[in-house]
Amino acid sequence: MRFQFVAGEVAAGLRRNTTMVVAVVLVTFVSLTFVGAAALLQSQIGKLKDDWYDLVQVSVFLCPTGSLMPTCAAGEATDDQIDAVRDVIDTELADEVEAVYVETKAEAFDAFTERYPNGYQGTQLTEDDMQASLRLELADPEQFAVVSDVLTGRDGVELVEDQRAVFEPLFRTLNVATLLAAGLAGVMLLAAVLLITTTIRLSAVSRRKETEIMRLVGASNLFVQLPFLLEGAIAAVTGALLACLGLWLAVRFLVTDWLERSVDWVAYVDSGDVLTVAPFLVLVAVALAAVSSVVTLNRYTRI
């Protein structure tokens, strides 16, 4: 295999088809930017979950006085009832629940007064207005449904609440954004495949005489097709690298420099995440080029 010859052919092909090559670069650039954005959104969601799910727990609210729930018909939860619930947690839910913290009415009141030192909306509440609860830390936060099923309806338990539910709207939004980006990416990727196919075809047709001679004098299939393969691959990979650069700049300036400064209590994706995504984008580009090339070349430069 003569590297120099192939390189020369590739360079000639790229020069001859400059506009098409630029089009391929741009389309792969845009499509892979969307792919990368989708990936970064997902990793942002992952980061938020990691961060926040550690902070939030499942709250098992115990019956206060005067609750209307049927399980609270006996009035405020007694120590016996609480022990029974803790027993269930220790036995039936031993795998799911990692730790149990008890929040007494006094602790709840302390937390409340710390947050609202001047009373809540003008009312002065006393310790007796508070509600005792058990805070459960789950081994796997996704297992909430199991925990809820087991504990709901037991005597002394008013309500089992997954505090993660608070974040659901945010995650849903981010997921929808991911889907949107992925959808756009899909359309653009399709456009990229078609464009690469067309470019390779143009290139193949404009060099049909060369390839015909190559076939006749016994050049191997690979040797005939390699320049076209490389052309497509170079254009697509260039697009991918641009996409990586674009994402890196966006994360660097939009997220790290701006968002992180204005809202600083959230963990954000950083340029390191872009570097994690980058190899995949390049891989996708290579795969795109490979698929389009194989389809086209089998039709246009067959032995």
């Binding site: 010859f5 001679i213 076939r215 006749l216 004098v217 016994g218 050049a219 040797f223 005939v224 032995i303």
Partner: protein, 270 residues
């Protein structure tokens, strides 16, 4: 060197076969003319040797290989044993003569030193020394064909296939090309040449295989071109205008005294 055993080739199902039950055996070092009207199967014959198509039935052996059952990835190896020349030369217009010939070696991965050594040698053999840097458009038809022949033989193939190599050339130039092919043949290369040029065939007196409607109708050692009239509609200008001895029937039939031959030709064609 080339053996066809009961070869048939049907391009489209149900259509008349392009070749039907053809059996031909070409020995190493032979020079064979393939003659016959257009559509008689000459080109199909050559394309089967090149393994551009597979035969519908029968076996073909080329340079010791069973071509009909040759897998696709082995085809390039086969073609390196073959040189091909066409009526329309098929030189790459954006390359010089030297580059055109070198191209054939480069694309099969020959080292640069081999290219540097072989190409001038071959160009000298075909008589193009001094014209290495010319572009194909700056060459006469004969010179272009010489360059094409140089490209075909630069890899020292065992077999040279020529598809009407003189079809676009005047008789004098054709003669030069034939001398060249003869010389290549005398170095041991098997030559199979499809042609319409009766003068050349008659003069060279080599083996002649005549095809008609895909069937071998004649296989004669040191034969002539054969009956002219059966292929009259396909005769090119050289046969009518430039052949002093052949085509007696046609030449005497058409031109009247005082009428220029060219007009007679055009009328005859129409």
């Amino acid at each position: 060197m080339i053996r066809f055993e009961n070869v048939s080739k049907v391009y489209t199902r149900g259509a008349r076969p392009a070749l039907e039950d053809v059996s031909v055996d070409v020995q190493r070092g032979e020079f064979v003319f393939l003659v016959g009207a257009s559509g008689s199967g000459k080109s199909t014959f050559l394309s089967l040797v090149l393994r551009e198509h597979r035969p519908t039935r029968g076996s073909i052996y080329v340079a010791g290989r069973d071509v009909a059952r040759l897998s696709a990835w082995r085809v390039p190896k086969l073609r390196r044993e073959l040189g091909v020349v066409f009526q329309d030369f098929r030189l790459l217009q954006n390359k010089t003569v030297y580059e055109n010939v070198a191209f054939a070696l480069k694309v099969i991965g020959r080292p640069r030193s081999a290219v540097r050594d072989t190409v001038p040698e071959i160009l000298d053999m075909v008589g193009l020394t001094g014209k290495e840097k010319r572009m194909p458009t700056e060459l006469s038809g004969g010179e272009q064909q010489r360059a094409a022949i140089a490209r075909a033989i630069v890899n020292r193939p065992q077999i040279l296939l020529a598809d009407e190599p003189t079809g676009n050339l005047d008789p004098t130039t054709s003669l030069g090309i034939m001398r060249l092919l003869d010389r290549i043949n005398s170095t041991g290369t098997t030559v199979v040449m499809a042609t319409h040029d009766d003068e050349i065939v008659n003069e060279m007196r080599r083996r002649v295989v005549e095809l008609s409607d895909g069937v071998v109708v004649r296989d004669e050692a040191s034969g002539g071109y054969g009956e002219r009239e059966s292929i009259l509609p396909d005769v090119g200008r050289s046969a009518v205008l430039d052949t002093p001895t052949g085509s007696v029937r046609r030449l005497s039939a058409i031109p009247r005294p005082g009428q220029p031959r060219v007009r007679a030709f055009t009328r005859g064609e129409a």
